[in-house]
Amino acid sequence: MAPIKLASRICMKTLEVKELTKYFGKNCVLNNVNITFLPGEIHAIVGENGAGKSTLLKILMGQFPFDGGSISYNNKKMIFRSPFDAKENSFGLVYQELTLIREMSVLDNLFLGSEYTKHGFISRKKQIEKFDFLKEKFQFDISHDEPVKNLSLSKQYLVEVLRVLMEDSEVIMFDETTSALDDDEAESLFDIIRMLKDSNKIIIFISHRLNEIFAISDKITVLKDGELVNTLFTDTLTHDSLIELMVGRTIKDIYPAKIKPRDEIDFSVEGLTTKDLSLQNISFDVRRGEIVGIAGLKGHGQNILLDCIAGIRKYDTGKIKLENHLIPRGNVRKAVKNGIFLVPEDRKTEALFLNHSVGRNLTISILNNRYLYKVINKKRETNFINDSVCEMNIKCSSYKNMVSELSGGNQQKVVLGKVLGTEPKVLLFNEPTRGIDVNTKQEIMMRIRTLSDEGVSVIIYSSDLLEIIGISNTVYTMYEGRITRKLTDEQINEIEIMQGIHSGGEMR
């Protein structure tokens, strides 16, 4: 493409959002928002949960109508009635949650809704040609015949991205696409995004991981409670100043100060090994009230380790001891009885009953604590629920609200509240803050810290390294199912951890 032509395109094809306003019932979720998106620019939108980021994208994608203001692209007013309408006008959105159809092949998924046809029938040949062209261009390794369910999570996301790329969209939006990916996977996604930037697309990017935003974006727009706070060049901001803009006040540190744990060893894992070698000779001790962080790239055994400790999965050799007391393997009921609880990664499917009330979710695992003559006592139950809603600061108009109506952060608080009600001794967290805004994240971290002060031992795995660094007393890095490093105190920093999770360097 000639440079002059390129320049003229930059002048032309901007996307302008003017005085955009949107109500849900009486709630104003977007109020007078003005943003201009330029081609060849990666524009990040940040804000807490409920700030209106996702709503903005959904309006741009035609999923929601808007109540006031205007959207114009290329100097033309746009009003999309459906996602299909938006697609026709070269708008594309990569969703936060996977929208692929698992049973269908990669090819069928990619061309769904925009099949290539010949005489009214689907032309596989043409589709495969296009697929190979994309494969050449973006350098990925996926077979077009493979059913999506056979692909790894990161590849599934890649397919999701490809689906948008295929349409030759000019405006490409990413709604927390990276929240399920680990750093390496996210990095390969960024390579693709940068490639798109070079070909002069408008890119809108939402993420809760501030590191990523600083790494990739050119401009950052901050939203708060549906209002525009500011749009700034990324270079002019620092981590702290951005957080300040997002929350409207200064958070010195998201993470509370670390307190030295007690000396007695409370919980220990000895030589945990599975037959398929996804875990190899894992041993570590946890002192009472200690927070142990597990760091590792996705798929190096961290999930399996937590599942084994919680009794969800079986291991083949090794021992788990709590207060010198052997915990039987592969038995969730026994583990729970002994006070070992897992807060799973996917709260929606593994931890909550979405279509039940907040109250019922809070009480479900320990109904008998509020027995009176072997029958659940309504009054005790209501008291307990009110206490934990209050204590956990769960934002809901009544405990009778469905959990599905709450935001992600509040849902996670319900999970936490449920687990705390059982008076645990060892708490396992798998990605406790995935998809949660900064403020709630801090609340949850504070909560975990107070728990450890009260003498609960905590084992936490997160793909967000800062989180691990911020909260842990001790960090173990995992690589290919083995523990590669044990880090304490000043050793806990990004460099040490990165070395541990990227190489098979032996334990020190």
Binding site: Q63, S82, P83, F84, K87, Y95, T99, L100, I101, R102, E103, M104, S105, D108, L112, G113, S114, E115, T117, G120, F121, I122, R124, S143, D145, E146, P147, N150
Partner: protein, 313 residues
């Protein structure tokens, strides 16, 4: 890529299809060991021709299951069609049956449309919607023909009693459905809507239209099954279709179709029907009482569902 790797990959992708045909082969081998009359041309033809309405009904069921539904009114609809066929144009040449056929197809299409509307627009679960439709149709069938009887034109039913024409009908239907599911947009949309209707919606597919059309298409197949059934019985029967509801469901499930939708193959349903038919046939040949045949069918269904859910784990 070596040949072995390619083969393994190919197998992984098409595992469901290979497994069901391996199972079919196993049943054929077992049956031919159990009874020497099993593997005769006459018996095999017999298995096929007596089960043509069943086969077509199973296709109809599979399509509905693929879009994430289930149809409990298939049997009742087939009974209704036989009643219509046995009361309209009973005498005369083959053309005298034409009005009956036309009405049958129309009625089944309209019923399919109604089921689709109830499910999509009124948000009634497929199970409940089709069950109620089934009761209503049952009443209508009895109103038309209160006991088995009536007559279907001899000239018309003749071709349906010949093996060759039944074979041709089945082949054509199979190819049409297979082609539709694999090479048309509508086919892909059926899988998409059943697999994840939200994703399908965001891909710009009109989910409701696909569901309703699926039920209408299934209605046409049901009508065809009814016509073949009436022609082979040469009469109508308000209850003749009843067993086909559960049989069609069983065959689809044996074939690996998933109740959650979006998973299943027409070629597997075919194998499912044949496995089902072989089991009944071999039990007949061995002189086992019909009562035990039901038990065998039930066990087969449990076996099939267990296999698929273990595989999914």
């Amino acid at each position: 890529m070596t040949f072995k790797v390619r083969f393994v990959n190919h197998y992984k992708r098409r595992r469901d299809i290979y497994n069901i045909y391996a199972l079919l082969l196993l049943f054929v081998i077992i049956s031919s060991i159990l009874d020497k009359d099993f593997l005769t041309l006459r018996n095999l033809t017999n298995i096929f021709t007596t089960n043509v309405p069943f086969l077509i009904a199973a296709y109809a069921q599979t399509i509905v299951i693929l879009i994430g539904g289930v149809d409990l009114s298939i049997g009742a609809c087939i009974s209704l069609v036989t009643c219509i066929m046995a009361t309209i144009g009973t005498e005369g040449g083959w053309w005298s049956a034409m009005p009956g056929i036309f009405i049958s197809f129309l009625v089944c299409a309209v019923l399919g449309f109604m089921k689709g509307i109830l499910i999509t627009k009124f948000g009634i679960q497929a199970l409940i919607a089709t069950l109620s439709i089934s009761l209503i149709i049952g009443g209508f069938s009895l109103a038309i023909l209160d006991k088995p009887g009536g007559n279907v034109s001899k000239e018309f039913s003749k071709p349906f009693s010949s093996d060759i024409s039944l074979f041709i009908i089945c082949t054509i239907i199979f190819i049409l459905i297979w082609f539709m599911l694999n090479y048309t947009k509508f086919g892909k949309y059926i899988y998409a809507v059943g697999g994840n209707s939200l994703s399908a919606y965001s891909a710009g597919i009109n989910v409701d239209v696909v569901k309703i059309s699926g039920f209408i298409l299934s209605g046409f197949l049901i009508a065809l099954a009814g016509v073949v059934s009436a022609a082979s019985m040469r009469s109508g029967d308000p209850t003749s279709g009843e067993p086909l509801t559960l049989k069609s469901l069983t065959a689809s499930i044996i074939g690996g179709a998933s109740f959650s939708g979006g998973k299943g193959y027409i070629e597997c349903t075919f194998a499912g029907v044949i496995i089902f038919a072989i089991i009944n046939n071999i039990l007949n040949l061995l002189g086992v009482s019909t009562f035990y045949q039901y038990i065998a069918q039930g066990l087969l269904l449990i076996f099939a569902i267990a296999i698929t859910s273990i595989q999914d784990k």
